[in-house]
């Protein structure tokens, strides 16, 4: 490996933190969903790096599955967001805060 494993882990960690930030701080449901996708990609990166480090294909297979699952997640998520938008006319998560305590 040209790039050390620890560097990639660090990079994946930073990417993951950015994803969390995007998912938590953004005030738009679609952007929050994108944040989650970034988190998934960070995990995928760590998998590929680990696969390369140990010369084992499982990590790469895992990434392929992550692609498929992320697609399923986006389709469920977007369907729900479209439904919510039709019902309330807003994508701002603040709208969805009637239930408390």
């Amino acid at each position: 490996m040209i790039v050390p494993y620890s560097h990639i882990l660090m990079f994946a960690g930073i990417l993951f933190a950015m994803g969390i930030f995007c998912a938590v701080a953004r005030r738009n449901l679609i952007m929050m969903l994108i944040g989650v996708e970034i988190m998934l990609n960070a995990a995928g990166l760590a998998f590929v790096a680990a696969a390369l480090r140990w010369q084992q294909l499982e990590g790469q297979v895992f990434v392929l599955f992550i692609f498929a699952i992320a697609a399923a997640e986006v389709s469920v998520g977007l369907a729900l967001i479209v439904y919510a938008y039709r019902r309330t006319g807003s994508l701002d998560p603040e709208t969805y805060n009637i239930l408390r305590w």
């Binding site: 494993y5 882990l9 994946a12 993951f16 994803g19 969390i20 998912a23 449901l29 929050m32 969903l33 989650v36 988190m39 998934l40 960070a42 995990a43 995928g44 760590a46 998998f47 790096a49 680990a50 480090r53 140990w54 084992q56 499982e58 990590g59 297979v61 895992f62 599955f65 992550i66 699952i69 399923a72 997640e73 469920v76 998520g77 729900l80 967001i81 439904y83 919510a84 019902r87 309330t88 998560p93 969805y96 805060n97 009637i98 239930l99 305590w101």
Partner: protein, 474 residues
């Protein structure tokens, strides 16, 4: 070759059910009676199938999938939970009629996914099964006909759930990076050696996060009250019972990985358990909505189950299995009353229980026993469950933890008694008619109540099964 597929029969049967409901969902005219009876019949057969397969043992799919007593016992519980939830669907008023087949379809896929979850012994299989069960639930929650609360609950569930599963996946990547294998059997050998390294322990904890979300343990509990309230009553009943049971199973499998040698992991689990119990019980006190109250009570019960798991001994795991079963029965009994009392499918306020002892004496009695069981009062199954869990923790010397748990159990008694008080001592403002309780409902109620009391007084048979199942983990 034939032999291999017999191991997979409960799951194949679930898949068949899903196909049937998919077919029913395609039909042009909605027919709720047909859907209900189809679901009831097939779910009933599902329990029989799961029971018939309980003694099977073997591995499938390149050893990624293990069928043993542990997984089969949980499959029986899941099939039973599914069947009982379907029993509650006689008046499925919370969901539009044309969506009924889809409701059953997603319940079935969720059950299928959880059956696969309790059998998987490979990280990728676990991840895929967990996601399948989550996505089914994400769709079930906003299916409710109604007033906007369902959308909010659905969005919150999806967002929190997606984040939790992403966190878990990141943890999986660390575990894979440290142990260079995805098979739990091999991880068991490698992980105790490297458990001291930060990457391994961080990875394992992040993986547990995903499961803690399912179980609604303290830092991941935010979704529970909102989803419980926002989802249709029957969906809530399913989330509160079957999905919790599956979460307990998979947490046990993953915690058993550490081999009981990690101090950090135990400390972490102790902290989470205490936090869940205390927060759940304290917040439950102020609840006015019955389903929200049950949500907070489920958070505290997640804490009790963790006590059994963190003991990391055969007794501890056996007690946790027993507790999961007890919780399934008690909670289903509570939800039976909730569903029957609010038969128009609306949310049930605790105050609306007033006068229940006159409107439906049997339901009031069932509610009282179930609630006392949740509080841990003998001679119900809930007391036995709590006793076993605490005894397992005492064996390991966690005295302080058990004392805190007992204080918590006492606190929880307060709000459980409020529910009983509403049902027995309060009178409604205006005279309400008697609740019609059909014969099958009566049979079901009596069966649940009998199960709660009989297995509370004489738990030895179930305990033997739980012990035998727990031995598979060690």
């Amino acid at each position: 070759m034939m032999n291999v597929w017999t191991l997979f029969i409960p799951e194949l049967y679930c898949l068949l059910m899903a196909v049937v409901f998919f077919g029913l969902a395609m039909s042009a005219r909605p027919n709720p009676r047909r859907d209900y009876f189809a679901a009831l019949f097939m779910a009933g057969v599902g329990v029989v199938v799961a029971l018939a397969c309980v003694r099977l043992e073997g591995t499938l799919f390149f050893e990624a999938y293990r069928v043993d007593l542990f997984s089969q016992v949980f499959k029986v519980m899941l099939a039973m939970g599914f069947f009982l939830v379907v029993c509650l669907c006689t008046e499925l008023n919370g969901i539009e009629e044309r969506h009924h087949p889809e409701f059953y379809l997603f319940l079935t896929t969720c059950t299928l996914a959880m059956m696969m979850l309790v059998s998987s012994v490979e990280l990728l299989t676990i991840y895929v099964a967990l996601e399948l069960s989550s996505y089914s639930l994400y769709i079930l929650v906003p299916l409710r006909r109604g007033h906007g609360v369902d959308v909010e609950a659905g969005i919150k569930y999806l967002m929190v759930g997606a984040c939790a599963s992403a966190v878990m996946l990141f943890g999986l990547s660390y575990v894979f990076g440290v142990t260079h294998t995805t098979y739990l059997v091999e991880i068991i050998h490698v992980l105790p050696g490297v458990i001291g390294t930060p990457a391994a322990i961080v990875g394992l904890l992040l993986v547990l996060c995903g499961f803690f979300f399912k179980l609604a343990v303290f830092p991941f509990h935010f979704w529970a009250p909102d989803v419980y309230q926002g989802a249709a009553n029957q969906v809530t009943a399913y989330i509160a019972t079957a999905s919790k049971v599956a979460a307990v199973a998979i947490i046990m499998r993953v915690v058993a990985l550490s081999g009981g040698s990690s101090k950090y992991l135990v400390d972490m689990l102790v902290t989470l358990s205490i936090a869940s119990m205390t927060l759940g019980n304290l917040v439950a006190i102020v609840q006015k909505d019955m389903k929200r109250l049950l949500a907070y009570s489920s958070i505290s019960h997640a804490g009790y189950v963790l006590i059994g798991i963190l003991s990391m001994s055969a007794t501890g795991y056996a007690s946790a299995i027993f507790y999961a079963l007890a919780y399934l029965v008690m909670n289903l009994c509570c939800f039976l009353v909730v569903v029957k009392v609010s038969h128009d499918g609306s949310d049930l306020k605790i105050a609306q229980l007033a006068g229940l002892h006159r409107r439906a004496p049997l339901l009031a009695m069932a509610l009282m026993l179930a609630v006392f069981g949740l509080a841990g009062i003998p001679p119900t199954i809930g007391f036995t469950g709590k006793f076993l869990v605490f005894a397992a923790a005492m064996e390991k010397g966690y005295v302080a933890l058990v004392i805190i748990a007992m204080i918590n159990a006492t606190i929880s008694l307060y709000y459980y008694i409020l529910v009983v008080k509403a049902a027995y001592l309060m009178e409604p403002d205006e005279e309400l008619p008697r609740l019609p309780v059909s014969i099958p409902t009566k049979v079901l109620t009596v069966a649940l109540v009998t199960a709660m009391v009989v297995f509370g007084v004489a738990p030895s048979y179930l305990l033997e099964v739980a012990r035998a199942a727990a031995r598979m983990l060690m």
